[in-house]
Structures are given as structure tokens and as C-alpha cells.
Amino acid sequence: MNERLGRIGAQESTALITTALTVGGAFSKKSADAYSMGNAEYIVMPLSILLSLAVYFILAGAIKRCGAKNFCELVSGIFMPLGCLAAIGVMLLMIYAAFNSLSSFTAALHSLFFEGVGYDRIALFIVPTVFLIAMLGFETMSRTAKLYAIPMVLMLLVSIAGSASEFRVYRLYPLFGGGAGGIIIKAVERIPLFFPAFMSLLIVADGVNGIDHANRTAAISAVLAAGILIIAHLAIGLVYTYKELDRLFMPLFRINYLSKFEAHLMRMDKFAHLIWMNGGMISAALYIYCASRIFIREYALLDIRPAIAVSSLLTLILLLAETGDGTQSAFKICSAFMNKWGFSLYILPPILVSIFALARPKRRKIYGK
């Protein structure tokens, strides 16, 4: 069986999941009403990570209780006849997460970097690279993530530091727009940005040396990513008011535009973007790999590579559909639905699976040896 999984340690898995969570929270396209009640993203994002982590632990508990090694085994064991459909559902959600990780970067390259180069051409350049990373397997992408995670975070901090002279507290007001209720609703809506990273960890749990290690990785990554996102969104909020943020695309990329004095540091936005984009590509490769893995496990295929090719192709189709002539309006409707109700697709099935699994007698192994 050619799964290209390998084995990685705690550092690699933490780097990979932290990268995926950070990309999800800092570089994904915002939903239309993200700032409708003011800017509270610096609270919403960590809270959403916390909620996703809670769902993760429910699922991880169910996997452990059933004696499964990973999420793939849980799905195929519990759903029996429905397992095939469930696998396809999870696969499609992971592919949507891969698209989400690449969409902003592709749009930024198209609109801010390469004059006259179409969105489709850029997507055609990015997705094959992601495909190659995914083809190299889980272990390789995790080790690559370990290499890129620190530069990615450092570049984020350098960009934020470069704009510090323009931080103004009044821009954060009204504070905690929408109150606690609004914050919780938005945190729930943002779950699709984070839960796929945790779900990936469950899909490849055997590659990170078991569920216990995966749990530790999930907790550490959640804390790290939450810290990074609090800093990033606070910085964005200190530089742009909620009204401006409502109109802005990729605010982190433009965080230095407000500085009146342009130092060399502030002209590094393109360089920073390329480093951040590496994080986006690694995250997308992780999701594509996981989508492919759950598919081949459910359908008992021996080689993951054709599935990775198909998953990459589907990601490319989503990217092209986003700006395609006949597909743009339909895509917008789907995207709005996913932004508003996508969380239910991501968390309800796993919760149902967990309930089903936990309802079984304890310590009863239902999978392999």
C-alpha cells in the first residue's frame, strides 16, 4: 500500500498544524459580514480555535474509545454502508479547505503582484506545486512546514512591527462590536477555517504516533495559533477601522501602507506575501493529502497518488470556478452559504459519529488488530 504517510515527531506536527491554523485565521477570505458589528476578530478567531479544538477532542475521544487508529477507521467502522458517502463528504470538505487556503494568495498574486496575468494562470501555476508537495507525502510536507513555520511567523511579526508607528487605539472602537452574543455567533461561523486542520490531524493520527500524541499536538498548536492570531488581528485593528476592514482584501498584506514614512522594511510586503504563501501551499497540500487518504482508506485503494491528483484537480476547479465566466455567481452563493453555515457541515457529522461511537460499550474494539 502506497500511502506516503511516514512518521513525524511533535515539532513537525505542531509546525504543520500551527501553519494551517494561522493561514486559516489570518489569510483566508473574510466573510461578507465579518466586521458588520465592529472589529472583534482578535477575540473571535482564538475563540473559534477553542471551539474547533473542543470538537476535535470529542472526536479524538470517540476514536480512542473505539480503538481506532485514526478518523478514517472510525468512519469506515461506524457508518458501514454509509461510510463510502461519508468519506466522499469529508474529502470534499477537505478540498474546500484546500481551496480556502489558496484562494486569497492567488487573488493577491493576481491583483497586487503580476500586472496583466490572469487569476486562472496563477492558479494553474500554484496548484501543480501544491500537488507536488502533497505527492511527496505527509512526512515531507510536515518537515517542510517545520522549515517554513518560523520564517512565516517572523515575517508576520516584522510586518506588524513595521507598522507599529501607525497604531491608534481609537480604531479598535467600538470595542467587542456586537457584544458577547455576536462574538460567539461569529466564532461558530469561523469554525470551517480551523476545524479542517484539527480534522487532518485525526486523519493522519497514526503518522504522528497515535491519538495521544495528536492530542498534544492539537493543544499546543491551538495555543500557538491563537496567540499569533490575537497579535495579528489586534495589529490589523489598530491600523484599520472596522469600516475599512470591511472593504479591504488581505489587510495583513497592506498593514504598512498607512505608514507615512516608507522605510525599506515597509517595502517588504511582496517578500512577506511569498513567505506566507508557502504556508498557504503547505496547508493546502495537507488538506489535499488528507482528502485523498480518507478516500483511499474507505475505498480500499492501494495507491494514494491518483487520489491526490484528483483532489488537486478538484481544488484547481474550485479556484477557477471562483472567477470563471459562468460559474462566478453560483460560486458566490455557495461561498456565502459555506461562510454562514459551513460550520454545520464540518462539525455535525463528526459529532454524530462521536455520539454513535461513544454510545457503544467502552473498550470494545471494532477495528483491526
Binding site: 497586487l112 501555476f125 477601522t241 514614512f261
Partner: protein
């Protein structure tokens, strides 16, 4: 078996090689290379009201190659045309030049005074900055003179590099406080949010200034340019200058402040770092070098009426004091007199701004912090409340380098 594996490996390499090569060429821009010689880099964009079209648009270009432009004007080139927007100006101008206009290096926007007074700046800027690749950190200036003349004055001393002028502008703000800088991003924030009003430096043009004595045209003006320039107000440097501030109320320019008044406006606005200020105490004149120490603004709300209590702390060094009393009597009356002088001047500049309807000092930013929800904030009319807004100023001065003031060293 071994041969078969070898063959499979070779086939793999053969299949992957073109893909990798293709991606490399794209990454290295080999598929669509553009030489810098093929671009005309627009460093400044100027807009005045047009006669036949909406705008008279002027572009200052920096050319990288040693072409025709560099011989005459030190690398700078000016293009100007009347057009309804910047895109039609680009189309018209592009038909007459042999290179492509590139806006990635645009540092400064210059607007004519009339255009600014009519509130047409947002209309002119209603463009996609992303499409033109213009960074919103580009600075803005209002020119008292026709914009063509002003931009002409910028290149009059072979000064092709507007980036240096941008730096000079900022350093003027930081070193003198006599002008106030605003960039596109801040201007948009001011106009769209209404929490404060924009203040731009005023550009002036003086054709009498002898820009470069070495290149002075001896055949026309005589052989001694310095002697002939006795009527000129200044010798050397550019014919275009910036001094004072243009006050805005929303999108429209409503008045001006002198360089001196701008210093006091900047002190409250928070943009003042240091600078020489001409002061008066006990009927005597002096000049002090002030450095910002601390500033606190507290908003007090009484129903629909708002007021601010402003506390300013400055460190001063005496630069010029003919009576030599400021240092000697600083702690026995002169210091307090100076503090009262600062308070009077701050109040007077505040009242001037308020009467013009311009929240140049940015009190609205602090008032907006009183609101708990976006609905309440968006329903609040700061412009209306500002009409009855009052500010109370308290200035505390600390004398630095007292021995200089005492002995006049």
C-alpha cells in the same frame, strides 16, 4: 525486474522535466519579460480642474534609461493632458510615448487648490489603486499654484527622485512640525469615517527662485547669478516648496494654517515631535526648541455636548532670547507666562479650525471611543456635535539645558 524499475524511473523523469521547466520559466518571468527601459515610472500625479475635460492631469516620470529625458531634466519627464479620469489620461498619453506607464513608484499626489476646495479629490481618487499598483502610502499635497507649474518646479533642480522629496516632507513634519503630512490611506479614513479631518501640506511655487547657480543661464541673465538674483527670495533648491497646511472638512478644503499655526495644530493632533517655535512671554519675544513629551486628551460628555481636556507636556530649550530672561526667570514667572502663551495659541488655532468646520486636531477620534456599538457610532453626527465642541488646554513646560538659557551660550 531491475531494468523495469530503471525504465519506470526514466519515464517519470521525462514526464516531470517539462512540467518543472515550465513552472521554472513562469517563476523566473521568462515567459513575459519586461525591461525597465520599456517602462516610464510615474513618481508624482497631479490634478487640477480642466477647461474642456474634468481634470488637467500631470504626471512626473522618472526614466531609468539614459534616454532623451535624462539629458534635459536630470531623468525627470513631465506629461500632461486634460482628461475625465486618470485612465483616459493614461490612454491618451500612452499613444504619444514609446514606453509603458508604470505606477508602482508613485509617491505623491498633488491637487490644485480649486479642485480641493470643490471637494473633488475623492472623485479623482475613485480609482482602483490595486489596478494601477499604487500604494496608498503615497502622500498628498494641495498646490496654491497651477499643478503643472508646481510639478515643473519639482524637477527644476534636476530633482527626478520624488522619493527623496517624500522623505524630506516627512522629515520636515518630524523636525519642524510646520507642515502636516497625510497619505491616501489616512485621507480615505478621514473622509469615509468622519472621526477626524485631513490636513495636507500646501505647495507653493516661486518662479523667481534661482534653482541652481551653477547652471544659471549667463547669456540671458548676466554673468553673476548670485548678484542678479538679488530680487529672488531664495537661491538654490527647488522652485516648489511646501509650507503650512490646508484644512479639510470631509472631502473639501476649507481653509489654511500658516506654518506657525500648523505647529500648534500638530501638537494636539499628535504629529508634532520637535521643532523651533517663536514664542512670547511678558511682552518679550524668544525662540524655543520644543520636544514633545506627553499628550493626554480626555473627553467629557454632557448630553449632546462634548468637551475635551487636553494636557500637553513639552520639553523646551531656549534657542534665542534677546532679553536673556527666560532661563533666569523660568521658575519665577517666565515659565508660567510661556505656558499661558502656549495655551492661548493652542486655543486660538483650535477655534480657527472649529470655525472652519475642520476637526484638524482629531478630537473626533477620542469622542468615537465613547460609543459602545457600531449602530450608535454610525448614527452619531460628529460634524454637528463639533460645532459646539470645546477644548480646554493645559500646557506644562520643562526647561532643558537651563545653563544655555541662563548664560546665553
Amino acid at each position: 525486474m531491475e531494468n523495469r524499475q530503471k525504465t519506470v524511473r526514466i519515464i517519470r523523469i521525462v514526464l516531470l522535466a517539462p512540467v518543472l521547466l515550465g513552472m521554472l520559466t513562469v517563476a523566473a518571468a521568462c515567459l513575459n519579460p519586461v525591461s525597465v527601459d520599456n517602462c516610464g515610472y510615474v513618481v508624482a500625479i497631479g490634478a487640477d480642474l480642466g477647461k474642456s475635460k474634468a481634470y488637467d492631469i500631470t504626471l512626473e516620470l522618472q526614466r531609468e534609461s539614459a534616454g532623451e529625458a535624462t539629458e534635459n531634466s536630470g531623468g525627470a519627464l513631465i506629461l500632461s493632458v486634460e482628461a475625465d479620469d486618470i485612465f483616459s489620461a493614461i490612454d491618451t498619453l500612452s499613444s504619444g510615448i514609446a514606453y509603458k506607464l508604470n505606477f508602482t513608484r508613485t509617491h505623491i499626489f498633488i491637487f490644485g487648490e480649486e479642485l480641493a476646495k470643490k471637494g473633488r479629490i475623492p472623485d479623482f481618487l475613485e480609482i482602483s489603486f490595486d489596478v494601477l499598483r499604487i500604494r496608498k502610502s503615497a502622500l498628498m499635497i494641495v498646490s496654491k499654484a497651477p499643478v503643472r507649474d508646481y510639478i515643473g518646479g519639482l524637477v527644476s533642480n534636476n530633482n527626478a527622485n520624488i522619493a527623496k522629496m517624500q522623505d524630506a516632507l516627512i522629515s520636515n513634519v518630524e523636525r519642524t512640525g510646520e507642515i502636516s503630512a497625510v497619505n491616501i490611506s489616512l485621507f480615505y479614513e478621514a473622509v469615509d469615517e468622519g472621526r477626524f479631518d485631513a490636513v495636507m501640506p500646501i505647495g507653493r511655487y516661486d518662479s523667481e527662485i534661482i534653482t541652481d547657480t551653477k547652471q544659471y543661464d549667463a547669456t540671458k541673465k548676466g554673468e553673476n547669478p548670485i548678484k542678479d538674483a538679488k530680487n529672488a527670495s531664495r537661491i538654490g533648491g527647488m522652485q516648489s516648496l511646501t509650507e503650512g497646511s490646508a484644512l479639510f472638512s470631509g472631502a473639501a478644503m476649507v481653509g489654511t494654517l500658516s506654518g506657525y499655526e500648523t505647529q500648534f495644530m500638530n501638537i494636539v493632533r499628535g504629529d508634532f515631535k520637535e521643532g523651533s517655535i517663536f514664542v512670547e512671554y511678558d511682552g518679550k519675544h524668544a525662540s524655543v526648541f520644543a520636544i514633545k513629551n506627553k499628550r493626554s486628551i480626555k473627553i467629557v460628555a454632557d448630553g449632546d455636548n462634548y468637551a475635551a481636556k487636553v494636557i500637553i507636556k513639552l520639553n523646551i530649550t531656549v534657542e534665542r532670547d534677546l532679553e536673556a530672561q527666560l532661563g533666569k526667570r523660568f521658575y519665577t514667572g517666565a515659565g508660567s507666562a510661556l505656558e499661558r502663551f502656549f495655551e492661548r495659541e493652542l486655543k486660538s488655532v483650535f477655534i480657527k479650525c472649529r470655525d472652519l468646520g475642520s476637526d484638524a486636531m482629531g478630537f473626533g477620534r477620542y469622542v468615537s471611543m465613547l460609543f459602545k456599538s457600531t449602530e450608535a457610532l454610525e448614527a452619531f453626527d460628529w460634524k454637528e456635535a463639533y460645532k459646539t465642541f470645546d477644548a480646554d488646554f493645559t500646557v506644562e513646560l520643562t526647561l532643558d539645558d537651563g545653563y544655555l538659557a541662563d548664560d546665553g551660550q
